[in-house]
Symmetry: C2
Subunit: 330 residues, 2 copies
Amino acid sequence: MRSELLSRVLSLLPDPQEGRSELRQYAGMLRDYPRRGGKGIRSELLLASARVHGVQQDTPGWDAALWLAAALELFQNWVLIHDDIEDDSEERRGQPALHRLHGVPLAINAGDALHAYMWAAVHRAGVPGAMDEFLNMIHHTARGQHLDLCWVEDRRWDLAEADYLEMVEQKTAYYTVVIPLRLGALAAGARPSEQFTPAGLALGAAFQIRDDVLNLAGDAVKYGKEIGGDLLEGKRTLIVLHWLNTAPPEQRQVFLQQMGLNRPDKDPHTIAKIHRWLLDSGSVAHAQAYAHAQAQEGLALLAGAFQDAPDVQAAGELMAAMRKLATREA
Amino acid sequence: MRSELLSRVLSLLPDPQEGRSELRQYAGMLRDYPRRGGKGIRSELLLASARVHGVQQDTPGWDAALWLAAALELFQNWVLIHDDIEDDSEERRGQPALHRLHGVPLAINAGDALHAYMWAAVHRAGVPGAMDEFLNMIHHTARGQHLDLCWVEDRRWDLAEADYLEMVEQKTAYYTVVIPLRLGALAAGARPSEQFTPAGLALGAAFQIRDDVLNLAGDAVKYGKEIGGDLLEGKRTLIVLHWLNTAPPEQRQVFLQQMGLNRPDKDPHTIAKIHRWLLDSGSVAHAQAYAHAQAQEGLALLAGAFQDAPDVQAAGELMAAMRKLATREA
């Protein structure tokens, strides 16, 4: 995230120099993830939406938008702390996950505290309606996360593509696109367009599917995560669900057998073989095409919503940025 | 909690009849702990404080106080879900802990969602200043929880009584007494007395120490929890810390050896022996006396704060209830 957002985030958090050593550790844990430097995709989208709606830099509206953007970054960070526990991830942004550094109990507690500081940032923004947006955002995200976790726990692979899309809309699209677009409008004192929801759901799905494709077929250096990591983690993706419906029965069986194992018990050689099958199937191209169509649909809806935008140039920039995100290489 | 609070809490939560089976499970998980029927100690204190400050039933002020009380119950419940994971507790209110029923990942997520619904209740109350109280409450509680968890993780027993009291003030006293007293005043549109903080810290400490005593020396039927459970869980209490400073070295050594083991590895026979040593020592009486003095101090401060209260009778009732809590048998 941009440095002026990071300083706002850190300004809300407890002082890491204060109190007994345990409390200095606590304060350090709250600052850890925000300082690891995420891309700030959601906060930038929120700020871009505020500009489209006529908010100009160095005005009170811009200050409010920055607080909302800081709140969105705090959201992202507390959710990541808890997600990393829920998925038992090893790494986050190139360093060990917080619970791998401090244990699960302290990391749950740090995520809870960061969650509360998110509300402090929302409160600080003083934007009418913003609190309802954050409530709605968490409502959707928690539902999507529940679906995803249920399927992992029950080792369910008998899912339709529509199931995956429902999960991604709830878990990713609202907090990545729909709500940032809406918050930008609210920061400007404007009423969010009703088109933001269908546009954001389509663009959010495109964004997530693109991420799934990159995880399987991307350039490891540009992408910055382990290629094929989703396979090892047993993540449901559009690619895998499409492939399962078309793959030869013996490949399917090998796949389901591996997915029935815990991550450390999976056989790297067999996983590499499955990885190759997936790449050689038409399923990556299918997912790409689906993501492309969703991106086009989302951008068209957005263009309609921005037709009478106060700042037409900013609207063009926002849409170019969204297009880039949905077709990105990393 | 009283039934009108429970219905307010449930009215905010997602419908358990709606959507696919996974989402019905999700909605059911959010409702589970609130429906298990806690005592509602904090919400009753908040409502009592509102009455002391002149709020009368069936007025808008009373409605606001009820929403704040519902928020306090939601706080208690999401914190318990996460605490039970952090302590790996087996039971909560006579039934298996939520993560024992559904696994850790889903339970973390359900706690997070319930946390957000707490803010929805705060928002609904529409009481100026209430949001800051909740932020402050979580700030203290998370710090106290961090201290407690650190000591467990590092198997630290070289703690002074002052360390324990600092932890209990942060972890328990703010959310149990200080903040409910303050929220009651705010619901009445009054400025909370500055005496509420020292009074609440003293009474909160008395309340927790009383709980520690009951856990060790209470009547199992009345108390409703396993007597000696704190010992098996390795909880730091004023009793144990006092005893460690006075016990014969060989008893100390047996104790520390057992506390170095995980719960399932502890020897029930040895734990029973330690339990007896603790009961036979002067440490229970020491803790009782300390709690009694704290309760007296807290009540005296409260009497001062309520001197010019709009409702003197309600003030008397609140203080009688506080006295009862600090000397309760269960």
